[in-house]
Amino acid sequence: MKGLLIKDFKLMKAQKHFYLLIVAIAVGMAVFTEVSSFIIGYMAFIGSLFTLSTISYDEFDNGNAFIFSLPINRKCYVKEKYGFGLIVGGSSWLLGTIIVLGAGLTRDHNLILDTLMTALMVLPAMLMILAFMLPFQLKFGGEKSRIGIMGALGLMFIIGVLIVKIAKSFSFDLVSMLNNLSTMSIGMLNMGAIVIAVVALLLSYKISVSIMNKKEF
């Protein structure tokens, strides 16, 4: 698996300018705005997307046939993709948090606790995105999965809006309830979200393994 990880890091090297640009944008936003959750989310999201682009690289020119003739198996390949996504997504998430903290501290605001809370809220979202996108990418490849992901995100948005609307029709204001939660309850809610996201990621891994086991190259 280590060999595959090295391969993906080497492939990512080809996109280092793109990554540096993303970091520069994040730094710019952190210095000139105060949208900390967006910056951390943006970094984590773009970082975890790199694992998808390595799958595209592997598929390009039928490269998968050669990869699977190397001394690795399909399960190991899937594990590596999840691992790579977590490493790059996690590091980008951390970097985003550091950027926000750095910019906040230079502005002399005491934002540490707020930023850390925001960062923790972004984490389950990042895990969910990985859990959701990896099986799509492995099953349908680059082009088709993009369409599928767009559709699915749209669907999730509609479901979210519907839940809020339905709750409202029962005189239950979810948004203001979330806004009025104490820091403690937000922390608990967040922990719950992280647990759900980890479970989703494990489930997604199982699905991905079975997708790969069925594939022919």
Partner: protein, 283 residues
Amino acid sequence: MLKIEHLKKNYDAFSLDCSLEIMQGRVTGLIGQNGSGKSTTFKAILGLITSDGGTVRILGKDIQAFKTEDKQDLGIVLSDSGFSGYLTINDMIPILDNLYKAFDKPFFMEQIQRFGLPRNKKTKDFSTGMKAKLKILIAISHNAKLLILDEPTAGLDVIARDELLEMLRDFMEKDEERSILISSHISSDLETLCDDLYMIHEGKIIMHEDTDVLLSDYALLKVDQKQYADIDKQYILRYKKESYGYSCLTNQKQYYIENHPQIAIEKGTIDEVITMMIRGVEL
């Protein structure tokens, strides 16, 4: 080293039913036209596609029992696949070093230098010859017991082909227990390298012969109508109608030289033998 019995794979317009055996210490060639089933056979051996029947035993193990660890002993070249072209040779070295326990880095580096392959250039920008040499080098640099090479010489000029075949001969000389299965649609590549040859056509093996026998005992008899009527046909494998009469493929050249000295006998090249086996009519 490798034994395939009635390996089957069915697609809409193609079905494979292939049996072949690669013995230890030998180089076995698989010749066939484009689309004859060479790559499908290779992919089934490597578990890249699932087979619809038959058995494959590789390095003494059934394909189902052939584990990731066992792949350390294989060296693979696939005609239409390889490492991403966005990687450089320098990128590949640590990858190979971590994938193969027996990766011989000094040997690999030495060969890279010998063939003048640039280490910092993306391999997608390599010439066809450079790409082919790199693929072979990757396959032979970890002390593999069995090389499985699908069209490693495709698209190469004569000089590059010779260099590549030389690399394979060197590989075989180092250890007499090593074996190679190599496919090509260019028979001259295999003529000088292989100990025995299989011919595949429309998914089926139509012939298996030692290369020496193929080159020494197979011949084309060029006969007119009358000669064809009179000739002893017991060793004629295929015949084909020609403008002058018939051309006949035999695997007993000496017999016809001795018993029919009046007829024109041409030494059969592998290409001619293939053409006759495919286009000729069986008696």
